[in-house]
Amino acid sequence: MEDQKVLDLVKELVNRLISQPQNPNPNPNQPISVNPNSSSVDLNHSHQALRYAIRILSSRMTPSIAVDEAAMAESIKRQLVTQGKSSEALTFADLYSKFSSKTGPGSINNKWAVLYLLRVVSEDRKISRKQPNSTVSRGLPAIFDSQLSDNSRVSRDKERGWSGGVLVVSKDPENIRDIAFRDFANLLKEENEVSEEVLVRDVLYASQGIDGAYVKFDENIDGYALSDSIKVPRATRIMIQKLCELGWLFRKVKGYISESMDRFPAEDVGTVGQAFCAALQDELTEYYKLLAVLEAQAMNPIPLVSESASSGNYLSLRRISVWFAEPMVKMRLMAVLVDVCKVLRGGAMAGSIHMHAQHGDPLVHDFMKRLLRRVCSPLFEMVRSWVLEGELEDIFAEFFVVGQPVKAESLWREGYRLHPGMLPSFISSSLAQRILRTGKSINFLRVCCEDRGWADAATEAAAAAGTTTGRGGLGYGETDALELLVAEAAKRIDKHLLEVIYNRYKFKDHCLAIKRYLLLGQGDFVQYLMDIVGPELSEPANTISTFKLAGLLETAIRSSNAQYDDSDILDRLRVKMMPHNTGDRGWDVFSLEYDARVPLDTVFTESVMSRYLRIFNFLWKLRRVEHALISTWKTMKPNCITSRSFIKLQQAAKVKLLSTLRKCQVLWDEMNHFVSNLQYYIMFEVLEVSWSNFSNEMEASKDLDDLLAAHEKYLHSIVEKSLLGERSQSLYETLFVLFDLILRFRSLADRLYEGIYEVQARSTDDKKKPSRQLSGKSAEPGSWATEGRKALTQHASKFLSTMSQELDDIGKKYSSLLTGFISELPVQQHIDLKFLLFRLDFTEFYSQSRPNI
């Protein structure tokens, strides 16, 4: 029934067409013209025409372009415009808008078909009008009149070939060329099963990641390609393959974005990753826009200056390849970035993208800059809030500052650190350090110092840097602004922090207190303390009570100038007993301790305090030796009592006594020389010089790190110069052996003088009881009375000879050790001991006795 209707309509159409009275463009060149009179021919002719029409209609001819009504209308309009009929184009547009608004019953359903029909008919007519004089007017005939279908063209060519057969030889030899061209066109047509418009459409699809009718994604070669079954020239195939690289890249980028977005709530993609995806999405949107424009343009003819030449569709594969050049570069970049960023996150991702931004091409550079601005915005936001508010807003661990939960005293040193993997390369490590320190300072002020003043400093810094404290003030590429902000913030926050430390927590006072008490700078206090605790410390370590010592310390403070010191400082001074072994004396375990408290324990950490303790122990020992020598001097000081006692003795014993005493004096003198010079060196060359340097550096330090470094340097210099360092180990050991020898000497000298006083006491007794004998040592006081003067002398000389022997022994050991010590002094590379050596060997006594020094 439908068919019948179609047939009727076709019949009607054929009749109308044939019976059309006028030939629109009477053609004089056509040799055989209209023959209106023959009616039988007419009937037969109409019959034939109908059959021909049905054959054409039943051929499997399909429209070669996509069905798009608006695009078609637009294309027609453009064609009119290019033909110079702009007013008609306007009228047409007007008509079309009315036409397309007709919907509902009675309207035309297939509007596109109607438009297309109109256009093709109009073009055909135009061509047919031109045709007759075309061989003369046209230079090169267009190989493709692409709007025309193959079949119609073929039939027309056949017709021309047949009808112009006479003309070929007789009139128009140039026709040969024309025909040759046509043959060539046919050849091409046969070779190309698919017309270029279709391929262009497919390429446009493929570049959006969609399979077209002919161009499909091939898993084997991992890319879009024209399927092999379709016959196209190699050149076209290769060009399509090249163009479809874009589609492959697009798939990759798109895949990454959707993967990240799918992953987002479950796994931590991170803010930087999200920003990256958003930026890529924006770039893709731009790309979609371009594709949409291209698609709309695809069917329009190329605008040409000359009207006579008919042009093909606007988009050919070659034109597409030109259009795609720029998106291709961008898409490649994006694909590379996607590859790089797959495993990275946070700062590392931004850093690696930044590495790709180092490109000479301004196009690439601009593109990357735009991308990076987006990608880095979360990072810069983190920097801003860290520097100005001390907040670590980093739930995905992307920031290059990492916080750790620690106790207050180690907050500064261990609480925060840089994560080098997350540090993007456009932030230099020194800048990163400054960023880290600024935020750390804020946190330190907040946690340890319980200070609120930093907020004002931060606001001031932001104002000075010209950025608001609100969000989004910074961006990639404004490294100068970032540096300025950080510098301003750091300057103010650090200044504030130091003010708090100096003024509120009296850092300098505490340093001075430590120097005075722990480093024994307060002479009278040390003297008192030594006097009071001396007897107590001679006891074995396990019998000593800390409380008693604390009481003694209190007494020492009360009786010295230290009592005028700040009570806060004195409260912090404590006695500390080190862990002791059996056989240790009190001297070995006694030490003083200074309780630094928060926040100063950031400077005076445990390790620092243990180094102070080492220094204290050394100084304490030195003091003790000095103290011992002084007290020995008190006993051996030559006075009238001792000198008188010698007279009573026999000559030989007297000589012996005198020589022993002399030896003792000489040895004491040598030891005293050494100890007092060492003491001098430690006090003036080491402690005071270091302190003076430290004070200067403390004044100059701009932040807490500087202060810490200055303090560290101070402590280090004391340790090294006091021979406590690692490299001075041998010297230090020699020194301690020397100290031990001196202490031995002290007890020996005490014994010697005790013995002498006894002998003296005995001999004074002898004046009254000459018969009484001296029996020697105090062990048998009862026997003295019974022994005679001779025995006394004998005993005394025996005692003296052992004493002198022991003295010789100590003296020998001492002098060999000392020369060893002195000879080692000049070869110490790491510290300057010139002054110590100079003082010890002032008279060149040692260097002359031992020329090898």
Binding site: L57, P63, S64, T91, F92, G106
Partner: protein, 69 residues
């Protein structure tokens, strides 16, 4: 067919005819209406255009029509 639909159809035809004139197709109103009807029946417009061209350019040449095969 109610009058509304008829009017729409007439208007559409009128508009199409005007467009056709602007495009200088040389097709008269009646022929155009037949063509539109054929289009609506789903025939390929390209083939229709071919028919129009073939039968009109050389209306008096029966020999151009190849014999049936």
């Amino acid at each position: 067919m109610d009058s509304e639909a008829a009017r729409t159809a007439r208007d559409s035809l009128e508009l199409a005819f005007q467009m056709s004139n602007i495009l200088d197709t040389g097709v008269d109103r009646h022929t155009l209406s037949v063509l539109i009807a054929l289009c609506d029946l789903g025939l390929n417009p390209e083939a229709l255009a071919a028919v129009v061209k073939e039968l009109r350019t050389d209306p008096s040449l029966p020999s151009t029509i190849p014999p049936d095969s």
